[in-house]
Subunit: 119 residues, 2 copies
Amino acid sequence: MPKGNYDICPPECCDMRGMLSFLILWLLSKKPMYGQELAKEIGKRRGTKPNPGTIYPALKELKKRGLIRSKKEGRATNYYITEKGRKGIQTACEYFCKAFGEIFRERMHISARKAEQIH
Amino acid sequence: MPKGNYDICPPECCDMRGMLSFLILWLLSKKPMYGQELAKEIGKRRGTKPNPGTIYPALKELKKRGLIRSKKEGRATNYYITEKGRKGIQTACEYFCKAFGEIFRERMHISARKAEQIH
DNA sequence: CGTTAATTATTGGGTATCCAATACATTTAA
DNA sequence: TTAAATGTATTGGATACCCAATAATTAACG
């Protein structure tokens, strides 16, 4: 798996990483996953896949706080979101959309503007 | 200025801070601002205002990388985005909307769903 | 004019996230 | 059966961001 094999590439000007726990909870709210599956899904969206040294301590912490639970199944350890985690991520998504919503709406506005100009 | 005097409050389940440089460049791409003005604007959106120990080193670094420039005007130091910064933030906003867009669209879908149910 | 408020900037210590390396376990492929 | 692939988990060092405290400067207020 080459590092750069994504449709998306992070910008050079500023660090766009972070909010790892948020992304993990959000993905797990969709379906249970094992560690590397999560890392791969994050990589698909962010263009950079978190290393084991990043993902596993984060999962460990989320488990410690009761937001997820895990179950070893063969060589994989599958992670499941708890009810507490589900409530938490709902609130977090609302917050995210409020805090960063303007960037999105601005972008959609620009896109709509460009579409107009083509007419 | 009380800390909690915002319309928005960060969630408890996970850390939603970060991407400070991105936010700074984005705000400066709208209009020049001085340090505490930037901090205030970030606070309005994120519900937490970055401390001087956070904002000024970040501004210093952005300046060092040629993405912004500054000019002391009285007690204020106003910060301006450079052309390099403007190009950078454009790319970064595109990236941001791609990387996190799904969270938004999901949220808007849920909102639309709820509106339907009311009918 | 003196006092208060606002702004700047730094320092020291902390934290979440990050990478790279390493070792071990399990599954899959040859 | 062996080798390769995949997944787990930890450790050590690094980085961006973070807070709180501090000191200096400038502006605003009474």
